[in-house]
Amino acid sequence: MLFNSFEFLLVFLPLVLLVYFLLPHRGQNVWLVIASCVFYASWDWRFLLPLICTTTLDYWVSRRLEHLSFTQAPREQRRRYLVISLVANLGLLGFFKYCNFFIASAAQLLHALGMDVPLPALNIILPVAISFYTFQAMSYTIDVYRGELHATRSFWDFFLAVLYFPHLVAGPIQRAATLLPQVCNPRRIERHRVVDGLHLMLWGYFKKVYIADNLSPIVNHVFAQGSASGGATVLGVLAFAFQIYGDFSGYTDIARGVAKVMGFDFVLNFNLPYFATNPADFWKRWHISLSSWLRDYVYKSLGGNRGGTARTYRNLMITMLLGGLWHGAAWNFVLWGCFHGAILVVHRASQRALAAIGSVFGSLPWAWAAIRILCMFVLTCYGWLLFRATSLRQVFEMTRALAHPGQGLDGPLFAQVGLIVAPLLLVQVLQWRAGELQFGRIAWIPAPLKVIAYALMVYAILFLGGAPQSFVYFQF
C-alpha cells in the first residue's frame, strides 16, 4: 500500500485517523499496531515474520541488558547480549539483502581467476523496509547497552515504535530515544500540529506526484540506453537528482505529516540538501536520520576523528562505504559510498585552501557561497550517476560521455525538466532565504499568495502528476 495510492489516502488513512482520534492512549497504541501490521502485510504478510523475530529478540536483549546494568554485572556479560542482537540483526539483513550479491561477486571473482565454480543464487525475496527497521532496532539495543536509554517494559510499545506505519517502510530512521517516549506517553492532538501535519503531507505529495513521478519516465529513458550522449547524460542525471529528492523527501514529508496529525514528532530528514556548500554540509542535510545513525553508531564506534588524520580519513571512508552498501547490494552503491567518502576526505584535507580562496571574495561572500553550492551540486549529481547507473559499464560510458556535455542535448526535453523542477526550486529558494522550511510560516509572503500557492500545489497533485510510481527508497 503506497502513500500515493487511493486506497491509502481514501480508505486506510481516514479509517486509521477516525478510530485513532476516538480511542484513549493505550487503545490508540493497540490500534496503531493493528493498522501498521495491515499496512506492512499489504505487500506480503510473510514480511511480518522477520520483523516480529528481530523486534522480539531486541526487546528481550534490551531487557536483559537493563537487568544486567541494574545488577552491575560485568561489562563482558552485557557485551555478549549486544553481540547477540547485532549478529541477529545484521545476519538477517545480510541474508536477505546481501547473500546473492556476495555469491554473485564470488562467482565473478573466481571466473576472473580462471575457476568456473557454479555457485547457485538463492531464491530470496527481500522484505520491504528491512534496512530501515533493522537499523532502528539495533540503535535501541546499542543505546540501552551504552546506558543512554532505559529499556521499555512494554513489548507492544517497542513493537509499535519499530512498526509504526508512517516511518516503517522508508524512514526517517527513528531512534528509540526520540520515538519511544512518544509511544509510551499520551499524545496531544492540537490544531496547529494538525495544520502543520497537513502542510507537510501536501508538500510531500507535491514533491512525489508532480516532481518525482513526472521526472521518472525521463530518467528511465536515459538510463535504459546502454550508452547515452553527453547531453542525454547531463539531462538524465539532473532529472534523477530532482527525482530522487522529490521522491524520498516527499515520502519523508508525508510520513512526518501523517505522524504529526497523530501527535508524533519525527526527526527532520531533509534540510534543503542541494543548498549544501560542501560534502560534510550535504550529509547534514540529506537523509539526516541515516547519516546521523552512521555517524553515531559506525563513525564514532570506529574512533571518529580521535586517532589522527589518517584514521579519521579511514573512518570516513569505511562509514560512507557502509552507507553506500546499506542502500543496496550492488557495486554501484559501493562506488557511490566510496565517492562520497572520497569527497569528504578531500574536503577535510583542503579546508585551509578553501578558506584562503574564500578570503579572496572578501566583500562578496554570497558569490563564494554560490560557487560552493554550485560545485557541491555538480559533485552530488555525479554521485547520483553512480547511484542510478544499472551497471559499472554504464558508469564508465556515461562518465566518458560527460566530457562532451552539450553533445546530443535534447532542448525541448531539457525545457520540460526545467518546467517540472521550477516550482520546487522557487519554493526552496524562498525557504532558504527565509531560513524557514515550512512555506506557510514565511512571514513576508501575504496570506492570499500562500492560498494561491497551496491551491496550485493541489492542482498539480490532482491533475498534473506523472503515472504513479513506487517510492525509490522502498527497494532499500
Binding site: V451, Y454, A455, V458, F463
Partner: protein, 363 residues
Amino acid sequence: MAIGHMKSWIKIGSFGLLGLLTLEVAARIEDAMRFQAPLLGAYSINTVFEPSPYGRSGRPGARYAKWSFNSLGYRGPEPAPGRINLLAFGASETFGLYEQPNGEYPRLLEQALNAPGGARYNVINIAVPGISIGRVDYLDHALQVSAARVVFVYPAPANYIGHGGAYCGQVATPVPTDLGLSDRIRLAGKLSQLIKAHIPEPVMTRLRRFSIWLDTRNLSVMDRVPEATVDAYRRDLECVVEHVRQHGAEPILLTHATYFHGTAGPEDLALLTAWRRFYPQLAEMGLLDLEERANAAVRQVAAANAVQLIDVAQQMPRGPRFFADFVHFSDAGAARMAQIITAALVANPTVLPATTAPAGGGR
C-alpha cells in the same frame, strides 16, 4: 466576540473562494496550453456539437481535447481534394471515444485503403454519438455535401431500446446543447473525470446497480426487446440502403460487434451492468439478445438488397484487448476493425470505385 467569530469565518470563506478560483484558473490555463482551448467560456465534449435540423451535429471547426472537427462538422481532417469520398456512418463506436488521436477506425481504414497505390480515398467520419441509423436526413445531407460513393454503415442497435418505431421518415427535432456544471466549470469536469478514473470497479458496479434500481423502481424491466423494435431497426436499415442508392452511392452494411462476442460469463457481469446503466429498462442478457437479433436483421437486409455485408460481429474477437468498454473499440480494436473492412474490400474489389466520377444519381 461574535464579530470576531464572524470575521474569522469570512476570512476562511474568502480564502476558500480564492483557492477554488485559483484551481479554476489553473484548469483553464492547462487546457489552453495543452489543447489550445479558449480561456473563457465552456469547454467540454458537449461544446463540439450543436443543435441541427437532424437532431445534433458536429460544430464545424470545433475542437475538444483529442477530438477535432473539419469545416463540414465531421470528425477528422478536411477531405483532400481529388480523392473519392467514402462515408463512415454510425454512432459513438464509429465516432471514436477511447482511441488515440487519429486512431479511430475510419482514419485507419483511410490509411489502409490508400497504402498500396497512393492516396485515392477520403474516409469521412460522419458519425455522431448517440445517433440512430434511421436518421437518413442527416445521412442525405452528408451524401450531398460529400458526393460520397460508398457508405460504411455501422449501426448501434441499442439506440432502438425503448423507441416506438423506425426513425426513418420521422422529423428530427434539434437537440439543444445542454451544458451542465461540469461543462461550464472546468474544475468540476476534471474532478468528475478524476473520480471516475479512480473509483474501484467493484464500487463502480455497485453504484451503477443502485442507479439502475433507482431508474427502474416504477418500471417493468424487459427480458428482451419486443419484435417491433427489431422490425423498426430493419426498416431503418432498408431506408438507409434506399437513400444511399438514391444518391448514386453504394452502402456496405456491417454487423455490430461487442466485447462479449455473443456470450457472457459471470466475469462479464460488471461490464454488462455498465452497459445496462444506459438502458436500465432492458435486463443485461436482453442486451446480448438484441445484438443477436439486430445482427440477423442486418444480414437479412444485406441479402435482400444485394448489399455487401461485412460480418464484423463474427470476425471481431472478444475481450479487453479489442474493446475499451462494452462496445467501444480500443486502439487494437479500431485497428482490427479497419483490417476486417479492408480485407472484405480486397476480397470484393468491385465495391470500391476506382475513379472520382459519380457512379450515377444526383448530388
